[in-house]
Symmetry: C2
Subunit: 394 residues, 2 copies
Amino acid sequence: MNYQQYFSADVPSFLRSPVREIFRKVDLNAICSFAGGYPAADTFPLQEIPSLAASVLEKYGTKALQYGATQGVPELRELIARRYGVPVSQVQITTSSQQGIDVCSRVFLDPGDIVLANNPVYLGALQSFRAYRAQVMEVMGFTRFARNDNGTVIPSPEGASVSPAPKFIYVIPDFNNPSGETLSLEQRQELVRVARELDCLIVEDSPYRELRYSGEAVTSIRELAPERTLQLGSFSKIFAPGFRLGWIIGPEPLLEQIYVCKQCLDLCPPVFDQYLAAEFLGSGALDRNLQKTIALYRHRRDLMVSLLDRYMPAGVRWTYPEGGLFLWLTLPEGIDTVALYDQALSAGVAYVAGSFFYTDGSHRNTMRLNFSFIAEEKMEPGIQLLSNLLRNAL
Amino acid sequence: MNYQQYFSADVPSFLRSPVREIFRKVDLNAICSFAGGYPAADTFPLQEIPSLAASVLEKYGTKALQYGATQGVPELRELIARRYGVPVSQVQITTSSQQGIDVCSRVFLDPGDIVLANNPVYLGALQSFRAYRAQVMEVMGFTRFARNDNGTVIPSPEGASVSPAPKFIYVIPDFNNPSGETLSLEQRQELVRVARELDCLIVEDSPYRELRYSGEAVTSIRELAPERTLQLGSFSKIFAPGFRLGWIIGPEPLLEQIYVCKQCLDLCPPVFDQYLAAEFLGSGALDRNLQKTIALYRHRRDLMVSLLDRYMPAGVRWTYPEGGLFLWLTLPEGIDTVALYDQALSAGVAYVAGSFFYTDGSHRNTMRLNFSFIAEEKMEPGIQLLSNLLRNAL
């Protein structure tokens, strides 16, 4: 059988996640892994699941096991609406925030369409945009290498001729995956100005916004431009990723088409899981757990940064994330983190090469390091292994 | 804001589910509803959920709450593979079997492509194919109106010039949604012959296959043509739809692209729910529960058919389903079930107009009746209301 003949014209643009390929091949528990973007298992409310489940079954009975509304169960939508101060009609529950990205791609993108993105860009978003054969262009890129460094801001593309008009700007403004960086209020205002000038939408991806360890919260882009922003939220980092739940907050005329599209995708989000999330959020347990999660991750970030300070050879620089799960290393030009990867794995340490997050595969001297998932006792040996590797490569 | 300008070229082809629109507007519990395709809540293993959950948490701990493999958790894939006698590498877990349909559409269909389908066709499939701007053509249609009636078989389209070559044939061979009919072995062999002649794939949608109440199981299309068949399975009717879990069994080269596509869709299926399903299936509880479900539905089907026999006016005919959740009513020409619908609702009875399941909106003298969801005590008054309505319309 020649199976190639059956595939759609989109398939050659499908991009395999190099991160997920690493997971397929390597037992990350056997090495020191800074790869992946997993939350710490210690943050999952394991002990509370049985009582949450009992409470859901008592309150909702078989309704919790039946098909549900495509928009999500009313109880969860109501809680999200209240938490973020928006009407319920502006909340759509999604089966993961990755689905949020995919449904936005599906509803807005045609082949050849332009998405403006901050660079480096989240790989799952890049996969989704590419799979619809959209062109991804850089709208804003910057890297702060120290706590007091404002970094280099590459200006918005208003000077460049962008044709066709971009459909949307995709951005993770808080603790970007992969770079760990946060857009300042001025940068957000600039981004909104650009979006209004180009008359395009904004997809504000906010999976980490509630995970801030230092500094002050910055106004969300949705609050700055509610008329054109779809804000994606996620339960993966504030509850548990095994439930695959997220949400979209946005203008009703956009959510209406997303709702119709979602009927095709999976009819409705997982109902039992939605009630578990509603119970966890509504009872206040989510916020109590979030405080513990923040304390844990703050400690891990601080440990990570102190280890980098101690061990990394001169010429290596890194971002200082005020929240989220990642920081970003930039090595001297000429060091190729893609080429070094097998050597790193053999030595017992894993990372994700930074060039995977660039639309053009550039920046081969960068890497993403995750500090949320790794066991704390593995952090020091891991950073030592990585430092030795880089020292030898310099 | 003019939001229309942002939508992709696919959006005008999005089809709103009339069934889901009914659910939005009417409290189905307040009337006698034969609409919808919900399983009976009595079949959900409500009492067993707490012990399943406890067992999952004990066996797998935080792994049950973490991100999982895109293909599905190995334990569940293994159980599905064993149940259906295929290698694990040929099993992909999906976030609902609707996602199975959607991912097949996404991986195989370009605008203008042809899908051959048995008519009338499942609405969720029709929505998905249309949303990719595919053309849906009838490959095989037939209606048996009595237990001994072999019905009219509309032959396959080999005579007609089909251009471009169809990408796949979509079919629910067992207890079709909406018609309740089952393809005979000869009809399946004919369908496979057509697929081989046209050199296209087959998407065999099998959500009801395990729900047989009488007659003998017929060999699945996958078994007849494993080289070109993607068989979609669902936990919604044998466990509970609130978990949104299904699977695809198919040739590895096809599953490989479906796997890459699924990374974009939602990264992985719900992990906790997959472990619950694995526990339910692996312990034998699923099969015990299935026996009870079959007995309950057999009783409801028999009750439904006897009520139709008793109350329906002459000239109304219906299919006799050997399994599944639906039967199909054909009324004398000239009676319009779309036009009658508001009157039916006012009278306190709901159905789904049959024309919604036809690609061309024809067959306005047909309707789909569901017999799984309605409370048994509502069946007789419901059928009486419907019969009176039709008698007045004749």
